[in-house]
Subunit: 250 residues, 2 copies
Amino acid sequence: MLTNERHAYILGLLEEKQTVKIQELVESTGASESTIRRDLTDLEQSQKLERVFGGAILPGRNLMEPSISDKSTRFLKEKIRIAEYASSLVQQGDSVFLDAGTTTFQLIPFLKDKDLVVVTNGLTLVEALNEQGITTYLTGGLMKPRTGAFVGSHTIQALQNYRFDVCFLGINGFHPDYGYTTPDPEEAAVKQLASLLARKTYALADHSKANKISFAKIMDLDRATLIVDEITKEANAGLQKKTIVKVVTP
Amino acid sequence: MLTNERHAYILGLLEEKQTVKIQELVESTGASESTIRRDLTDLEQSQKLERVFGGAILPGRNLMEPSISDKSTRFLKEKIRIAEYASSLVQQGDSVFLDAGTTTFQLIPFLKDKDLVVVTNGLTLVEALNEQGITTYLTGGLMKPRTGAFVGSHTIQALQNYRFDVCFLGINGFHPDYGYTTPDPEEAAVKQLASLLARKTYALADHSKANKISFAKIMDLDRATLIVDEITKEANAGLQKKTIVKVVTP
DNA sequence: TCCACAATCAATCATAATCGTTCATAAGCA
DNA sequence: TGCTTATGAACGATTATGATTGATTGTGGA
């Protein structure tokens, strides 16, 4: 069996089953463990897969380590639901700002075939957007290791060259008195500016963010339309004058 | 069996089975191994197939896109060697520009603990740099899907805010008359500007780039110091007036 | 929690397969 | 005959492979 054949075989199996085990490959190809190991190393080098203990998985899936992958599974269904609704607010040909974050990330699959121009400050987002074939600009700037978000003066300056039809922000808390908040002032500044540059801004959050006050203020509630899955009565009461879209999670 | 017949036979078999092995061809045609080898070499020359170790495969729709995977493994040892040497040219505390590319990518492991500020326009590089804990700015801009490089006016403008002590460029060809070249004019523009912003520029290339002329010109040879592993005498003769550092691959 | 055991890993080495090159021979052609 | 081209064999060089080793990592029980 040729090296390329094995490589193709491994990738085929991987595509089909999402994961492959080394032992499984040794048996099915007849090659030695060492060879399979080398194959996996090579394929990882070329970004075709990602090695894990005992085998390999498709790449990119858990690229952004626990900091994000943990968060992204929490309320994942809700986030997808929110994202799906949010995507319906985008018109064909719009220019869109997508904030770095796990909720906005879920928007990407729904944006295909809308002929958009997307600007983002999220590293993981630009990769996913490219996979979908969407024209994407990354703001650039200083990268925050844990979240993969770009921030700082570079980012701020780069943003000012753009104007958006729609701006989607991920937020960490919303509160009737304190507005939208997020833990990092640097990221808050980026969100703030992006919103100013957009005709319409939407803040995306699941219900766990209700009445929560994170460290840095982004803006008042009435500066953006909140899209949230469900909120308690008390939270609702405080917010009732503001613009809210409630998405019911099925 | 005539040469043309064998050629046709090989291509037919290849079309049918996607891959052919040399031994297999030796047996089925009765020709010697040398002859089959020559056949494959000829057919590769005329782009009818692509040789791999032990046989040949169909060209183009190569399961492993050569765009990234092949390039990054081709001359890998040389690239690492070149990168190691290049890293010795960086001083503690320098500000560095790292061009997007596979050779510059190999530099990253050697830059640890040098307390640098690195600016890059390469997506894959920013990830690797972050893993090494190096302070990194990404230029941002429009992302080119195949290479992961950011280019365009956004990138150009973002770059202008920086000045570098050292600038490392990956190049696709160098030639005494035509200078440094690369296939993409957009990327050429970025390389060009980065070099202007740096006190010292180094062009990194393995010997396969010698005397090659890629599409877009970056600059003349004397505008950057060339770091290359080995070059033929003829290539060397044409270059001898310029600044070249030759790295011997062990 | 800690420890021990099993599985997996990276690194190394020797071997086998394959490669490019060279040279000599054979075949085709004027 | 003299010339070119195709072929096959032989060689050392390169590359892929498989087995081995000691280190690392995950797992399950005390």
